[in-house]
């Protein structure tokens, strides 16, 4: 149930009707379960917004089907689908009060006045705007307008709630607050949601599952931790979080795990992420926060250690970032609590180590 996309493809046309060479959405298939919150995440132009608009019915796919609650809605216009969208620009109707904005859908359905009053005030309560009901939208702040847009979408009890980068026009603090609120409301109502964003922090904190899109196709689908810890390729690894890529070779299996050779150092990786036969050249995805630095006279506590030299230091309070040159390769390390261990300085000789068991091997093409 929920939402299903089957082999959806969309190319845009120029105003003269010429079909663009670029495929906006390329053969995308996706199953979104009931009550699940799924984020479409990717760089601009990856097709995430177009996919969302196809679900809403604003765009017609050239090929493929869209199913909502198991029903084929591909050819239905947006007003005949049980979806509700929260727009990036909020799209609050400027000629209607906050109350009438939220009541808009109910009035279209010819709901009785008592029901409208009841449901709208409940919604305004839920988003914390009860005392703003009579205001005109131009008296609201961006965050308040966003809440009106959210209330207006959910008051109709849609089967699917769609979010089109709803927080991108808000400042950083408010964004974080609204993020939590959207998640709270979504979970309270248990409403199936599709959320489009290019902000990975937003995606990580909001989603049951994340769909990473690139150039019109799905690159990877998974829970936030799957996406972060076991990216399927370099694109995903680089798009979500930051990553070092370290060349290595599979040396063979040992028990349930796999032994790999990193620049002459041998280390074992647990079985879960092993899929390559011996001799395969791989790249290890090493997250910068798993890279540890040690003063050269203190020895190295990691199973894989290299000698290196600090080339750049950025002190950011809670963390410090270092670029370390190791045998001509530059490694990024993000060290938490720099006050605790003392800052390293540029030019300082250090030992660099990382925990191989949390490194993730990618096959080199």
């Amino acid at each position: 149930m929920g939402v299903t996309l089957k082999n959806v493809t969309k190319r845009f046309r120029s105003p003269d009707g010429e079909i663009s060479a670029v495929v906006a959405v390329d053969n995308v298939s996706l199953d979104i379960r009931d009550g699940e919150m799924v984020t479409l995440l990717g760089p601009s132009g990856c097709g995430k917004t177009t996919t969302l608009r196809i679900i809403a019915g604003f765009e017609l796919p050239d090929a493929g089907r869209v199913l909502i609650s198991g029903e084929d809605v591909t050819d239905r216009p947006p007003n005949k689908r049980d979806t509700a969208m929260v727009f990036q620009s909020y799209a609050i109707f400027p000629h209607l009060s906050v109350f009438e904005n939220v009541a808009f859908g109910l009035r279209l359905r010819k709901a009785a006045q008592a029901e409208v009053d009841n449901r709208v005030s409940k919604m305004l309560d839920l988003v914390g705007l009860s005392d703003m009901a009579r205001r005109s939208p131009d008296q609201l702040s961006g965050g308040q307008q966003q809440r009106v847009a959210l209330a207006r979408a959910i008051v109709n009890e849609p089967v699917v709630l769609l979010f089109d980068e709803p927080l991108s026009n808000l400042d950083a603090k408010l964004r974080e607050q609204m993020r939590l609120e959207i998640r709270r409301i979504q979970q309270t109502l248990g409403i199936t949601s599709v959320y489009v964003t290019h902000d990975q922090a937003e995606a990580m904190s909001l989603s049951d599952r994340i769909v990473i899109m690139n150039e019109g196709s799905i690159a990877q689908t998974g829970t936030p931790s799957e996406i972060y810890n076991r990216p399927v390729n370099r694109f995903v690894a680089e798009f979500v979080g930051r990553a070092n890529f370290i060349d290595a070779t599979v040396a063979g299996g040992a028990g349930g795990g796999m032994v790999i050779d990193v620049h002459g150092h041998r280390a074992e990786i647990p079985a879960a992420s092993c899929r390559y036969p011996a001799g395969t050249r791989v790249e290890l995805v090493v997250r910068p926060e798993t890279v540890k630095l040690f003063r050269s006279d203190c020895g190295c506590a990691s199973p894989v250690c290299f000698a290196g030299r600090v080339t750049r230091v950025v002190y950011m309070g809670s963390v410090a970032e270092y670029d370390v040159d190791v045998e001509g390769m530059s490694l990024l390390a993000v060290v938490a609590g720099p006050a605790e261990h003392g800052l390293f300085s540029v030019g300082e000789e250090v030992q660099v180590g990382f925990a191989v068991n949390v490194a993730h091997p990618l096959a080199v093409r």
Partner: protein, 559 residues
Amino acid sequence: MRVSFRLWRQMVRLSKEPTLLLSIIAIFALLAVFIVYPIVMVAVRSLSSTDAPGLGIYSRLMLSPYVRRSLYNSLVMGAASAVISCAVGFLFAYTVTRTDVPLKGLLNFMAVVPIVSPPFLGAVSVLLLFGANGLITSKLLGIYNYPIYGFKGLLFAQVVTFFPVAYLTLKGVLESISPTLEDAAMDLGASRWEVFSKITLPLALPGIASALLVIFIESLADFGNPLILAGSDFPTLSVQAYLQITGMYDLPSGAALSVVLLIPSITAFVVQKYWVDRRKYVTVTGKPTSTAIKSVSRPVKWVLFGACMAIVGVVILFYGVIVAGSFARLWGIDPSFSLKNYQYVWGVGSEAIRDTLTVAALSTPISGLLGMAIAFLVVRKSFPGKRAMDFISMLSFALPGTVVGIGYILAFNQKPILLTGTLAILVLNFVFRYFPVGIQAGVATLRQVDPSIEEAAANLGADSATTFRKITLPLMAPAFFSALVFAFVRAMTAISAAIFLVSADWNLMTVQILNQVNSGRLGAAAAFSVILVGLIVVAMALIRLVVDKALGIKYQARF
């Protein structure tokens, strides 16, 4: 206390910038002499009748059934013309902005043609089409002496003349309504009709109201069309005021009728400027997205397109018949091709052509510069009387030409300012009638330019004058040139005020065309009109060429 303190601070600051202070004083002086003073003269003169001095003249005029009918006719015509022109303009604007019909370029072009033509050309066309020897009435339908004079004919001519004003206003309004709002409404379950009736139309309402009032004002002020078409059965105020003065030599009555005409015009202007304009919604926020869902269904789209094409057909007919009429030996009787109209026009009118071009060429740059200067002062500077400057400047838009014309002959026919019959009176009249367009264009441009650009210049040591010359003026150049085009077109096609100000030495093409119509020489009038429109088109192309090539400024025509 607070207010006077602010005023004091403003004065202190101004006294440190003598150039700025002098410009403000000079502009106020000019506005007082060339806009306010003539209108005051009209009001004063209306009270100086010998047989009904003081306010007596108004009660006498209002007791006259003929005058009462004129007032009624003017108001009804204004309302009808405004409603129908807006309906047609909205149809065009909605079709162009909300559908993907073909030939949008043609629709746009056809809506601009009436703007670059003399405003009374519609009346000439109506006569060529429906008059005694009209193409449609006598040739196609075999009806002779169809009663086209009066309400019907005038309404027809005015709608063709004024619907482009509504179209251009409403196109801007509809373009500024974010399509996302319509998407959102549809997403919430609204059908296409509900989207239109609950979202698009309510949001466009302030714009529609504004267009209605503007056309109401223009229709009240229209002089050429009613002079030609109204006949004696359908008197209107503007024509009656003119006839009182030129026919009866009764200046006080003419002045009093002008005052009567002023009241609805100024009321409409004040409502438009201070009430309707405040109510406009700004809805384009964030990134502009266009909707892929068509706002109208396929059949509706083609119905709209058909309706637009029918109107395009009417416009083509209106202007085609002028061209055809100009080349016909004798319209309606001998349609064979002939250049005799042109030979005749060249004989009687070459001097008027030269005069018209002289007046337009002199007044255009002055009104453009004045408009830019006032726009700059109003948007960027704070000084006492700023709102008054804005109001008086924009007011001359709402003043019917007839009233202004009468005001000028009353104000400038004696010392110290004796201008009657000179080139100067025509140039000054055009400058102060058409500089508000420059102000509008300039204000629109300046509001989009971050003031910090100018602040940066001031911060680097430039004074007001230098900042204006080196920074602001170049930024305003596109607005300046589009104001030039408009002022030029208006100067070439103006009639209502100019008809009082022409003389044997300085005559204008429009006045000559009207004379030809009144003496029944429609062919000559048509030929004269074709030459006039031809000159305008050539001049617009020249301005565009100069701006595009020589100055490399992005050119945008605004009307």
